[in-house]
C-alpha cells in the first residue's frame, strides 16, 4: 500500500490523531506497529474493517501510559511560576490585611447574596418540571367575555374533564382536581386530626402527575371509591410507626362519617410543586354519594389534561375551544383552552385573554438583583486592584526586566484574582449553607441546598471563577502594561484611570439608590395600607368554624354564650371576611344594562352583621330575623354596590340572584373585603337564613370588659360542649387581617436586607478608594498643610473628589428608581402615591452614608502631621 494520505481517509485521520497526542519520541515505533497491524488486518478482514480497527487501536493509545511517557517536552517552568505567583499573592494578601479583608469581604457578601438568590430562582424554575411527560401536561382554562374584557380563569366545571376525554381523540387523559379546603376529621383508634389539606381528584390524575408511591399502585389506588391516598408525613401522624397501607381510617365531615381504606402512601410532595395536599380522595367517592356535578355553570375545579403524543397545542386549542358553548346554553361567552402546566407557576397572569407574565417578573427582578450584587462586588474588586496598582509597579518592573512576558504577567494577576475570588467563594458557600434555614423562614420557601448535586457545584464554581476571571482581567491588563523603564527610573505610574473607576462607582451607588428608594416606598406602602380604614372593627372579633354538631346546636350555643356575658353579638357568615367565597356577575336589578357583567362579591350572613362587624349603616337597617321574618330574603349593599346599581332610593328595591328575589333593606359604608390591598369591590350581603349549609363560620364579637384571652376558656368549654367531636378551633379577625401583610412584609425584608448588603459592599469599596486616595496624595496633603491649608479645607478637597461620582449616581438613577418602583406599585389596587420626598430622602441617606465612609479616612489624612509625610524624600 502506498503512503499517500488521503485527507478524508479514516487511515490518515487516525494517524494524524496519533501524531497529535503521542509524544514525538514514541511516535515512530508506535506508528510502525500500527501500520504493520493494519496491513495484516487488511489481508485478514478487508480494508474497510481494517481501517476501523486501526482507528480503534489508535484511540486505545490515548492513555496516560503513553500521553505522560517521559514527556520531556512538557515544560515545567509555568508550574514553577504558578507556585511562585500564588506565593507572592498570598504574601501580598497578608501584608495588606485591610485591603485584602475589604476585597474578600465585599466579594463574599456579593457571592453569598447572589448564590442565595440563584438557589431560589433555580427552585422557582424547577416547579412542575419533575413530571414525566411534562411537555404534554396542560391545565384547562376558561376564557370568558365580560364587559368587553376577556377574563381568564383556571377554575373550570367539574364536567369539563370527562367531556374533553370523551369528545376529543387528541386527549390521552383528563382529570379534575379540587382543593376546597373542606375540614375533615380523621379518626384512627385514639388519634384524631382535623385537616383541611385534602384534595378531591379523579383516578386518572395519578397517570397525569408523577408523584412517587411508597406503597400502592397508582393504577389501582382509586379502583375502590372509598379509598384514600395519603402522604408519608400524614401517615406518620395518623398511624405512627405502624404501616399505614391497607389500614382503615374514619373520616367525618359535619354529621357524616365514612370509612376509608388507605390505598396508597405517597412520598412527601417535593417543594417544587403547586399541587400541595396531604390526602387525596377520589371524585368517584363524592359521586357515589349521589351528587354528580354535571352543571357547566359551576366553575369549581382545576382540570388537568394530558395530550397524546404528536399533538400540537395550537391545533388542539382550536378544536376544543367551543366545548362549553356546545354543552351549555348560558355559556356562549366562554371558550375553553389549554395552558401548559410547566408555565403555571411563573407565566399565568392573563390580561384580556393574553398571557402577560406573572411570577416570572418577580423572579426576573431577583435575577437582576443577584447579578447586580455580583457586579457591585466585582466593581469593588476592580477598583481596589487598579487603585493599588502602583504598589505592585516595582514588582512588575523587576519581573519584566528579568524576562517576564506580558502574557505571563497577565496570568499572574489573573491567578491572584482567582485566588481571592476562590477564597471568598469558599467562605460564601459556608455562609450560604448556614444562612439558608434563616433565609427560608424569611421568604417562606423550602429551598434546599443539595450538596450532592453536581450542577450546584458546577454553577457555583462557574460563578466564582467567572467573576474572578472577569474582575481580574482588567487589573491584569492594566498592571501588566506598565513600562519598566519609567518605573525603575522613579517616574512611577499615574493612577489616573479615574474615569473608569468613577463610572464604576456611579453604577454601584446608582444601584444602591434604587434599592433604598424601593425599600422606602415598600415601607410607605405598608403603613399606607395599615392605616386604611377597614370599615369594620377587628377588635375583640373572633370566629369559629361551624363543624360537626355546631350547626345543629347553634341556637343553644349562641344563647348560652350571650348569657354568660362573653359575647355581645354573634353572626353566622358564609366564609371568613378575609377570604373570598363566592362572586357573581349575574345579579339582576331594575334598570340594569344587559351588557353589564360587573362582579359582585357575595356574602351570606344571618342576624345583626353590622353590630358584630361594627359596620356603619348609612341607610336602612341591619338584618333582624327575630323581628322581621321577611329578612330571610333581604340583602344589604355596600356603598360601591349601591353606586354600581344606581338606585336613588335603595330601600325596598328588589334584586335577582340565581333565580331568587331579594329585597334591599340597608346600605352600609364600604368595608375591606378579603385583602386591604384590593380596591373596594361592590358587595352584596345576603341573608342566608333560609339556605341550608350557607354558613361555614360564626363571627363572635366578644365583650370588651375583659381581655379576649380571658373569654377563650368560656368559649372553649361551650364549643366543646356543643360540638364534642371536634377540637376547639378559633381565629382572631385582626390576626387574619394582619396576615394579608405577610407577603409584602417579606418583600420589604428581602429588599431591606439586600439594600443593606449592596450599600455595605459599595461602602467597603468607597472606603478602600478613600484610603487609597489619602495615601496616594499624602505628600500633596503635607505640602498643602505646610503652606497653610487648614484641615477643614483639605478634608473638603479630598471628600469632594470622592463624593462627585455619588452625586452623579443619585441624579442619574433616581428617575430609574422611580420607573421601577412605580411599576411595582401598579400591582396593588390600593396604593400609596409617590412623592418627591421619597427620592430626596433616599438620595440624602446615601450621600450621608458615603460622606461618613469617606470622612473617616479624609479627616485622618487631613489631620496627619505634615512632618511625617514630608520627612523622607
Amino acid at each position: 500500500m502506498n503512503q499517500s494520505v488521503d485527507k478524508n481517509d479514516i487511515y490518515g485521520w487516525s494517524l494524524r490523531f496519533l501524531q497529535w497526542f503521542c509524544p514525538p519520541h514514541l511516535r515512530e515505533e508506535i506508528e510502525g506497529d500500527l501500520i504493520q497491524k493494519f496491513e495484516r488486518d487488511v489481508k485478514q478482514f478487508g480494508e474497510k474493517h481494517a481501517k476501523r480497527r486501526l482507528l480503534w487501536n489508535v484511540i486505545r493509545f490515548f492513555r496516560p501510559g503513553i500521553l505522560l511517557r517521559n514527556n520531556s517536552t512538557i515544560n515545567l517552568t509555568p508550574f514553577y511560576m504558578l507556585t511562585n505567583y500564588f506565593k507572592v499573592a498570598v504574601r501580598f494578601m497578608f501584608r495588606h490585611k485591610t485591603f485584602s479583608a475589604i476585597n474578600i469581604l465585599g466579594l463574599t457578601m456579593g457571592f453569598t447574596g447572589a448564590l442565595l438568590l440563584f438557589i431560589w430562582i433555580a427552585q422557582e424554575l424547577s416547579f412542575e418540571q419533575f413530571h414525566t411527560d411534562k411537555d404534554r401536561l396542560y391545565l384547562g382554562w376558561n376564557r370568558s367575555l365580560e364587559n368587553g374584557q376577556l377574563v381568564c380563569s383556571e377554575t373550570t366545571p367539574r364536567v369539563l374533564a370527562p367531556t374533553l376525554k370523551e369528545d376529543y381523540a387528541s386527549i390521552e387523559a383528563a382529570a379534575s382536581y379540587a382543593k376546597w379546603g373542606v375540614s375533615h376529621l380523621f379518626t384512627v383508634g385514639d388519634t384524631r386530626l382535623l385537616k383541611t389539606s385534602g384534595v378531591f381528584a379523579d383516578a386518572s390524575l395519578l397517570n397525569i402527575l408523577s408523584f412517587t408511591f411508597l406503597k400502592g399502585d397508582p393504577q389501582k389506588a382509586f379502583a375502590d371509591p372509598s379509598s384514600i391516598i395519603i402522604t408519608e408525613k400524614f401517615a406518620k401522624q395518623l398511624f405512627g410507626e405502624k404501616e399505614a397501607f391497607g389500614e382503615a381510617v374514619t373520616l367525618s365531615q359535619e354529621d357524616y362519617k365514612f370509612e376509608f381504606t388507605v390505598s396508597g402512601v405517597l412520598k412527601d410532595l417535593p417543594p417544587n410543586t403547586d399541587f400541595k395536599f396531604e390526602y387525596l380522595i377520589s371524585f368517584a367517592f363524592l359521586e357515589s354519594l349521589g351528587e354528580k356535578d354535571t352543571f357547566w355553570g359551576n366553575n369549581s375545579v382545576t382540570t388537568l389534561v394530558k395530550l397524546k403524543e404528536g399533538y400540537d397545542l395550537t391545533s388542539v386549542n382550536e378544536s376544543i375551544k367551543d366545548t362549553e358553548k356546545r354543552h351549555y346554553a348560558d355559556g356562549q361567552h366562554i371558550e375553553i383552552f389549554l395552558y401548559p402546566l410547566t408555565k403555571m407557576r411563573l407565566y399565568s397572569r392573563f390580561e384580556n385573554g393574553v398571557a402577560v407574565g406573572g411570577r416570572i417578573e418577580v423572579i426576573r427582578m431577583l435575577g437582576i438583583l443577584g447579578v447586580c450584587l455580583l457586579a457591585i462586588a466585582s466593581i469593588n474588586f476592580i477598583n481596589l486592584s487598579t487603585a493599588r496598582a502602583q504598589r505592585r509597579s516595582k514588582e512588575v518592573a523587576v519581573r519584566k526586566v528579568t524576562g517576564a512576558f506580558r502574557a505571563t504577567l497577565i496570568v499572574q494577576f489573573l491567578c491572584e484574582a482567582i485566588l481571592m475570588a476562590a477564597s471568598a467563594g469558599v467562605i460564601s458557600l459556608v455562609f450560604v449553607y448556614l444562612l439558608l434555614p434563616f433565609f427560608n423562614t424569611l421568604i417562606s420557601q423550602q429551598l434546599v441546598l443539595d450538596l450532592g448535586n453536581s450542577t450546584l457545584w458546577l454553577s457555583a464554581a462557574a460563578i466564582i471563577f467567572g467573576i474572578g476571571f472577569l474582575a481580574g482581567s482588567y487589573p491584569a491588563l492594566y498592571i501588566s502594561a506598565f513600562q519598566p523603564v519609567q518605573i525603575l527610573k522613579g517616574i512611577g505610574v499615574s493612577s489616573h484611570r479615574s474615569i473608569l473607576r468613577n463610572l464604576l462607582v456611579v453604577f454601584q451607588f446608582g444601584f444602591a439608590v434604587t434599592l433604598v428608594v424601593s425599600a422606602i416606598v415598600i415601607g410607605k406602602q405598608i403603613t399606607h395600607v395599615q392605616n386604611r380604614d377597614a370599615g369594620y372593627s377587628r377588635n375583640n372579633l373572633i370566629y369559629i368554624p361551624l363543624t360537626g354538631d355546631m350547626p345543629k346546636n347553634f341556637e343553644a350555643f349562641k344563647n348560652e354564650l350571650s348569657q354568660s356575658g362573653t359575647s355581645v353579638s354573634i353572626t353566622k357568615v358564609s366564609a371568613p371576611i378575609t377570604e373570598q367565597w363566592s362572586s357573581t356577575g349575574g345579579i339582576e336589578w331594575q334598570g340594569k344594562n344587559p351588557e353589564d357583567r360587573t362582579d359582585f362579591e357575595r356574602i351570606y350572613m344571618d342576624d345583626t352583621p353590622s353590630a358584630t362587624f361594627g359596620l356603619q349603616v348609612l341607610s336602612g337597617r341591619d338584618f333582624d330575623l327575630q323581628k322581621f321574618s321577611t329578612d330571610s330574603t333581604a340583602v344589604i349593599l355596600n356603598e360601591t354596590a349601591l353606586r354600581t346599581m344606581g338606585f336613588d332610593n335603595p330601600i325596598g328595591e328588589v334584586i335577582k340572584d340565581n333565580g331568587l328575589e331579594w329585597h334591599v333593606i340597608g346600605v352600609v359604608k364600604d368595608f375591606v373585603f378579603t385583602s386591604p390591598f384590593r380596591k373596594t369591590e361592590p358587595i352584596v350581603v345576603f341573608s342566608g337564613a333560609k339556605l341550608s349549609r350557607a354558613f361555614n363560620v360564626a363571627y363572635i364579637k366578644l365583650n370588651s370588659t375583659k381581655a379576649p384571652q380571658e373569654h377563650l376558656t368560656t368559649l372553649s368549654s361551650l364549643v366543646t360542649k356543643y360540638n364534642p367531636e371536634y377540637p376547639f378551633e378559633y381565629h382572631f379577625a385582626d390576626l387574619d387581617y394582619q396576615r394579608k401583610f405577610e407577603n409584602i412584609q417579606t418583600t420589604l425584608l428581602i429588599t431591606t436586607i439586600f439594600t443593606s448588603v449592596a450599600i455595605f459592599i459599595a461602602c467597603l469599596g468607597l472606603l478602600g478608594l478613600a484610603t487609597h486616595t489619602a495615601e496616594a496624595r499624602v505628600k500633596e496633603i503635607g505640602i498643602r498643610k505646610v503652606m497653610g491649608g487648614s484641615a477643614l479645607s483639605i478634608t473638603r478637597l479630598l471628600s469632594y473628589a470622592s463624593i462627585k461620582p455619588i452625586l452623579i449616581a443619585v441624579i442619574i438613577f433616581t428617575p430609574l428608581a422611580w420607573v421601577s418602583i412605580n411599576w411595582w406599585l401598579q400591582s396593588f389596587a390600593y396604593r400609596v402615591s409617590l412623592d418627591i420626598w421619597v427620592f430626596v430622602m433616599a438620595a440624602l441617606s446615601i450621600l450621608v452614608i458615603a460622606l461618613i465612609t469617606i470622612g473617616t479616612q479624609t479627616i485622618r489624612a487631613a489631620n496627619a502631621n505634615p512632618v511625617d509625610s514630608l520627612r523622607n524624600e
Partner: protein, 108 residues
C-alpha cells in the same frame, strides 16, 4: 532495594521478549500473544507494558530497521537485561517450589 513484582501480563511480555530475541518489538509481541496464547490483546497495552518494564530495568531497547510493511517506520527492538532474566528465573523457581507443595492431584 524493595523487591519488584511483576504482574501477569508483564511477566508474559517479558518472557516473550526473551523468546523472540532480535525480533522483539510491540506489534510482533502482540501477534505472538494472539497466536500462541489465543487471547485478544490491546496493542497499546503491550507498548505501555514494554515501557514500564524498561523503566524497571528488565528490558533495554534500541531502534531497529524499518520495513515496507511498516510504512518505513523503524521498530523499537527490546532485549532482556540480566535483571530481567534473573527475575524470570526467580518467578519460575518460586512457582515450581510452590507447585511441588501442591498435593499430587489425580485428574480423573
Amino acid at each position: 532495594m524493595a523487591k519488584e513484582f511483576l504482574g501477569e501480563f508483564e511477566e508474559l511480555v517479558l518472557t516473550l521478549v526473551a523468546v523472540l530475541q532480535e525480533d522483539a518489538y510491540g506489534a510482533a509481541i502482540a501477534e505472538e500473544i494472539e497466536t500462541r496464547m489465543k487471547r485478544d490483546v490491546n496493542l497499546s497495552a503491550v507498548h505501555v507494558t514494554l515501557y514500564r518494564l524498561e523503566d524497571k530495568g528488565f528490558l533495554k531497547s534500541g531502534l531497529g530497521g524499518g520495513t515496507a510493511e511498516r510504512g518505513g517506520r523503524r521498530k523499537r527492538i527490546y532485549t532482556i537485561t540480566n535483571a530481567g532474566l534473573a527475575m524470570l528465573k526467580a518467578i519460575k523457581e518460586s512457582r515450581l517450589s510452590l507447585w511441588k507443595l501442591v498435593p499430587q492431584l489425580k485428574i480423573s
